[in-house]
């Protein structure tokens, strides 16, 4: 396949006004404009989106899976960081 020479892009779709763009997958495209078109063709076929972002996959800085212990495990026993010790008045409704 020709994809060896074609950059990879990450696709983010915003479904409705006011909601955040969410990562929904990746694709190959030669440049930004073609990536946007391909994202539209692949990821919005069923009315999923009102806005698309595409980002070169190479521009994503990712954490190293080997650092998992150092980065994420120390939070496991900090239950006081969860807002579960407050009583929410009923009038506030869904938060």
């Amino acid at each position: 396949m020709a994809e060896a020479n074609i950059p990879l892009w990450e696709v983010f779709i915003r479904s409705r006004n006011g909601l955040a763009h969410r990562h929904c997958g990746s694709l190959h495209a030669a440049d930004a404009e073609m990536a946007l078109q391909a994202a539209r063709d692949i990821y919005t076929r069923r009315g999923e989106g009102l806005s698309i972002w595409v980002v070169p996959s190479a521009a994503i800085v990712a954490s190293d899976p080997a650092d998992k212990g150092m980065l994420f495990e120390p939070t496991a026993d900090k239950i006081y960081r969860h807002p579960t010790f407050y009583e929410v008045p009923e009038e506030v409704g869904h938060m």
Binding site: M1, A2, E3, I6, L27, H28, A29, A30, D31, E33, M34, Q37, A38, R40, D41, I42, R45
Partner: protein
């Protein structure tokens, strides 16, 4: 067992809807032939999407043609039971897919016409045709953008992609004159404000094509000789093969559903 072909009583408006419906169905079918074979997965999906848009347009136009004819011919009968000589599509849309460049150039030539055409048809005196045009215009606007962006990259790409793109432009050029043809049946509708005179869209089409070819570093052919005949049912050798594939199931098992 084989099904008998139907003949349609082609009043001007029925003929009009069949012509545009046949353009959409035949081009949509051609694009569907790429499914599973496109140069990359992303494009496999894109071509199938565009094909489905076009087949959707064909369904609306056939349904309307059948209603106006009033002889009980629904969209399926009109698609599956007319012979090649009764198909009224442009010769351009029945041309084989060829390589990817041929498919993209064919799509550009058609979409650069269809987009302004449907936009103008939104003001048709016929409410149904105006509604079909409003839906089709949004679709064809994207088809035009998709084909333009691809041709720019093919033309202004590698030596090989440039050569193939120019070959496709040269090979398909003589099928573009038919886009702007009219005949007596259509002139009647134009006078009534039901149809748009395609000749009035010539300058728009020229400007779009010139802009894209220029950006793609491709040359516009200067040949003025044009093929014609599709609107009257005189087709190239390719349409019969396409219809054989499109129609064989309904012809062999009449009324088959699944």
């Amino acid at each position: 067992m084989a099904t008998t072909s139907i003949t349609v009583a082609e009043t001007p408006v029925v003929l009009y809807a069949l012509r545009r419906g046949d353009d959409a169905l035949v081009l949509g079918h051609r694009l569907s032939e790429w499914t599973g074979y496109a140069p990359m997965l992303e494009e496999d999906m894109a071509l199938a999407n565009i094909g489905l848009d076009l087949i959707g347009q064909a369904r609306s136009l056939y349904t309307y043609a059948g209603e106006r004819e009033g002889a009980g011919h629904d969209e399926d009968k009109l698609a599956y039971l007319r012979d090649e000589r009764q198909y009224r599509n442009l010769l351009l849309v029945e041309q084989p897919n060829g390589d990817f460049a041929h498919t993209i150039v064919r799509q550009l030539f058609y979409s650069a016409f269809a987009d302004p055409y449907w936009r103008a048809m939104m003001r048709s005196a016929d409410a149904t045709l105006a509604a079909i045009a409003a839906k089709s215009e949004k679709e064809s606007a994207y088809h035009l953008r998709h084909a333009s962006e691809w041709l720019i990259r093919l033309g202004d790409g590698t030596d090989e992609s440039h050569r193939r793109a120019q070959d496709a432009v040269d090979a398909l050029w003589s099928y573009t004159g038919e886009l702007f043809e009219t005949d007596d049946a259509e002139r009647t509708l134009i006078a009534e404000g039901v149809a748009v005179d395609p000749a009035t869209l010539r300058a728009t089409w020229d400007a779009t094509i010139d802009r894209v070819l220029h950006e793609a570093t491709l040359a516009r052919p200067d040949s003025a000789w044009m093929q014609r005949g599709g609107r009257a049912g005189r087709h190239s050798e390719h349409l019969g093969h396409l219809l054989a594939e499109l129609q064989h199931l309904q012809r062999t098992y009449p009324g088959a559903t699944w």
